[in-house]
Symmetry: C2
Subunit: 643 residues, 2 copies
């Protein structure tokens, strides 16, 4: 056995004993040391960089570590094995995540405006506030020798009479505090209630004085990001907002890698723990602190996540989602006690999970469809949710169809060497001078650039193509100071030289990045075409395109069309509508009507499984070109001619 | 601070540090050392004997410890205080309990016969077997690319179709094992189900092969004894029987002392813990071992206990039961999850608590009334349950009234110097020669006597009175070898000299015992009269008297009448019907009809609170005489004349 010491940046050392040949990334996971590994250790992403400070490890050669870096001790953990005692430096995962995991969590005025406008539209369509939660101050006649009715009946009968309801229940756990509470407060209590028809449940009891809110949580569990809202259920008011990275990310950036990870021994529990204990609970406690509310005051949770996230969060084996015939354990699930999944808030608090409708179209999309309002209009609408996966819903008030394509994490900075999320330091827009090939960059926050976010990638590729720097296959076609080739012959375009970035490292996009991205945009476009086709629709029949998700409001639709990601339609038909999954989860929380509408909606959406759809593969291959192998699909945007 | 070491007989030492003046009994409770203290430390029962082995304590003088014993270190813990370091011997509470806590738990053929006959009568009256539990082997069509319905719907729809039900649910926790279970067993599973109308809940899932029972528990939680049955819910078959003492007994033999104890800091939790963890769980695990059934297979529990026991077991403050106007926290309570009270059996298992109807008439009596069948006949019946308390139900198919009297623990051996429960070594019957005053004793098991059980006490007092050894006030009126007076002038009658007993200690009954017992029997008789009076009934209107409870089948009804405990009626009108509380709890468990009948019954019984009943006190005082101050009530049994 050898002694491996992980020296964690900004943290305590972790020591673990290991046998010859054990994989360093696996070992780190065993020792609960967080190493960023979006590809889950298959050597492709190059993000699990660690530095050997002493001792020895055996590492395979990888193109992600150059000779200079190797000489300085840098290794990829996933291709390194134990061959003796070793001291290994692990960069702070928090800072590694910081960029890729920051989220547009309603913190900008623009995002808040979009969120509020969606809520207004839902309300206008009749899904108004009203969720059965209320508080009620009740005065009870004290017992006498002639009236010895027990405390629980005395309370429930009084509430029933005052509210005109036939059926009032009190939970067992409240019985424990009822006798003293009644007598200490002269039989005057404040009741937190949940009513449904004739039935009323007493959720909690307090002295009549004081104001104790009943709160609810709306949570969007994304593959990359967890976002949440804490709301007062009695008024609907948002008390706090919060977001963080999904702690599962170190087991893989995409759902497939995580499903593979959960198949390993103890994996189901490991992935459940990561999202619940490392993401949800910290966000919940942070929001409670911000709002000055105790977690015990949260009586209800709504959750919107994709099908895989829903399985993993509930600790349900997701393996059969990725194996033919791609069958989930569940679409819909009755409300569950939050304590059953390790979320310890109010006793008896329940979690409502937005229903999934397909193996890769989950509750985030059904909740998002609700919030998008496309079901409420005869206009033919396309809802495109661009997060770690790309999901597309097409239809109107008459019909709805949905499909998913594995967009990969490109829009959130994954699978791109210098990728990051749309936050401070991200290059969010770019144009390139046709003559000089010099880029003009827009950086969020205005400082030196750190990396490239989703909207920036679209711009860069559109501009590289428009200027003829790359060809339709994404290969470099022009030479210049900013076009450089590495030892393997892979070309890259330098967006910012090392001396001019915030990190001191060059920011570039290379042919592998471009290739990855072309496949991403090809997947989205071909998915759209595959949804339209069977019903005989062509892109020009689409009345509007609603773009949602992690890509952010910075997206340049014109450029997205120029690279063949979105159909060639007037820009006025496009609208960015933010995090619809969270907007839908919040609507579910505060409006019973919205929750009911969501259930109906989910049952009415036809799921199309692309991987088994004849013709999809051909359509995808045809779309893996800039803008498309069939140029007639992009008549207005022959970028090559413009160039 | 002084160091107090408790040297526990047959156990490990316990050491605790204490201040000058701390009470030794309280200190023992703090150190979790079990000392028998039925009177909960008020100095009256004399059972908390400990022996000072070294060091010092300060003890008040008590008539329970004579000079010889004092010289040998014996003290009452409850009247002893810390005055220095001390080593204190504590007799094994298990053996101390052994006699008082053994129970007639359906182990004798006679008890089994009585139990079976009650069940047959209930069945004959239409309360037949049928409880919604069943098992079902289901074969499910495997998914294909054209049929990708999720696992949970695939299962619930198949079950719904096969059973012709509209509404089949599966619990969240089962989802976790469903995906693998389905595939590992070729989509053929054994489902444990609970059905109610159109709705079916899937409780658990197993491979189709093998036989996994669904079990239920019926529990009678008495003040002194906990008895239980483990049954197969699908067939009703009893798989195991068990009983043990109620672990709360060291906090007091009667309910009042326990309510006082639970008012102390942490007392509610201490009393809940004692009955759940020291009594219920050991009995449950013992029965599971006996039957070869895992606790996780127990999906349902029915519980019958008196009002105080129900409060204390559920951890609900019982204090207001003993304070005017005597108001409980609850009579009825919706089924609760067993895990909420610390009984960890099947996930989602629920406990059904037989409803209370008064502060001192609880679920044991409503369940017992169900089992007694007095509600099913026009005959005017009296049900007398003689346990730690005495409860009386009077009525027929037209009306039912109930009351309770604090019989004290005399019938179970408490409050009587040489008292014990009806088990091996107990004097269960006695006659006394009118001339020689020599007793003829019947000892359970046939060996040397250990003590005196409830039926034996009745016999001894009836015979002492019949022979004129005691007078109507219970004072000694004749002298002889067996009548002895102590230093305080208290007379006693020696039933067995020290040399002839199993313990080597004299077995006797003294004037204090007799006085206690006269008050017990007076309470019962006056309670009966108080129930009859308001409706204008006299004892001779009673068609039958059913005697239930811990007193056991050994009771001599003729003697009970001779001392004025029971009304003067022909012996043929009396019948002993065993533990009706457990019989009723078992009926609730296996028959939904019985459970519904019990709810209706409970609502129909009129509770009479004796303590607030005008005239009860006078009636009680009049009955505290042998046989009664009004001799005309016992015309056939003027024992004095016979003597």
């Amino acid at each position: 056995m050898y002694e491996i010491t992980f020296k964690i940046e900004g943290g305590d050392d972790a020591v673990i004993f290991a046998s010859h040949g054990e994989n360093i990334l696996e070992l780190a996971r065993k020792a609960n040391v967080a190493i960023d590994a979006p590809c889950s250790g298959n050597g492709s992403c190059g993000k699990c960089r660690v530095r050997l400070l002493g001792g020895e490890v055996y590492s395979a050669i990888t193109r992600h570590i150059n000779d200079y870096e190797y000489f300085n001790g840098w290794r990829l953990a996933c291709v390194s094995k134990v061959s003796g005692n070793a001291k290994i430096f692990v960069p702070d995962i928090a800072s590694a995540y910081k960029n890729r995991m920051q989220v547009s969590d309603l913190s900008s005025p623009r995002e808040i405006e979009i969120f509020d406008s969606l809520q207004k539209e839902m309300k206008a369509a009749g899904l108004d506030f009203g969720n059965g939660y209320s508080t009620f101050i009740v005065e009870i006649a004290p017992p006498t020798l002639d009236d010895t009715m027990p405390d629980n009946e005395r309370l429930t009968r009084t509430v029933a009479a005052r509210m005109g309801k036939s059926d009032v229940h009190i939970r067992y756990s409240l019985l424990k505090k009822l006798p003293n509470l009644l007598r200490d407060n002269n039989y005057r209590l404040r009741c937190l209630l949940y009513g449904e028809g004739e039935s009323v449940r007493i959720l909690d009891l307090f002295p009549a004085e004081g104001r104790t809110p009943i709160c609810g949580l709306a949570i969007d569990v994304g593959t990359t990001t967890v976002s949440a809202l804490l709301a007062d259920l009695e008024t609907g008011k948002i008390l706090a907002k919060g977001s963080t990275g999904n702690g599962q990310i170190r087991y893989g950036a995409d759902v497939i890698n995580r499903i593979i990870e959960q198949q390993k021994d103890g994996g189901v529990e490991r992935l459940r723990y990561a999202v619940v204990h490392e993401s949800l609970l910290p966000v919940i406690h942070k929001m409670c602190d911000d709002a000055g509310v105790a977690p015990e005051r949260i009586g209800c949770v709504t959750l919107a996540g994709n099908t895989t996230m829903n399985h993993l969060l509930l600790g349900v084996n997701a393996n059969y989602l990725r194996m033919e015939p791609y069958v989930p354990a569940f679409f819909e699930i009755a409300p569950i006690f939050t304590r059953e999944v390790g979320i310890d808030i109010a006793p008896g608090a329940k979690m409502f999970v937005a229903p999934n409708i397909g193996s890769y179209v989950g509750g985030d999309i059904t909740a998002g469809t609700l919030a998008s309002m496309i079901w409420n209009s005869p206009e033919l609408s396309l809802l495109v949710d661009l997060g770690t996966n790309g999901e597309i819903v097409f239809g109107n008030s008459e019909f709805l169809m949905a499909c998913a394509c594995s967009a990969g994490p490109a829009f959130e900075g994954g699978d791109i060497r210098c990728g990051m999320r749309a936050t401070d330091g991200a290059i969010e827009a770019c144009s390139i001078d046709r003559e000089t090939m010099e880029p003009y960059l827009t950086v969020i926050g205005g400082g030196k650039p750190v990396g490239l976010c989703g909207s920036g990638i679209i711009d860069v590729i559109a501009e590289l193509f428009a200027t003829g720097i790359i060809d339709g296959r994404g290969k470099f076609a022009r030479q210049g100071e900013r076009v450089v080739y590495d030892e393997y012959g892979t070309g890259r375009y330098i967006l910012s030289f090392a001396g001019r970035t915030a990190t001191g490292r060059e920011i570039y996009i290379n042919e592998t990045d471009i290739d990855n991205f072309i496949r991403t945009k090809g997947a989205i476009f071909s998915a759209i075409m595959t949804l339209l086709g069977p019903l005989g629709f062509a892109p020009e029949d689409i009345d509007r395109v609603l773009v949602a998700g992690g890509i952010g409001s910075g997206i340049n639709v014109r450029n997205a069309i120029r690279i063949g990601m979105f159909p060639s339609l007037p820009e006025s038909k496009y609208r960015y509508i933010g995090n619809t999954s969270l907007a839908g989860a919040y609507a579910m929380l505060i409006s019973d009507k919205a929750a009911r509408r969501l259930s109906e909606l989910a049952r009415g959406i036809t799921y199309v499984e692309l991987s088994t759809q004849p013709g999809y593969m051909d359509s995808f291959i045809a779309a893996c070109f800039l803008p498309h192998t069939d140029a007639s699909l992009f008549p207005d945007t022959d970028a090559r001619e413009e160039a």
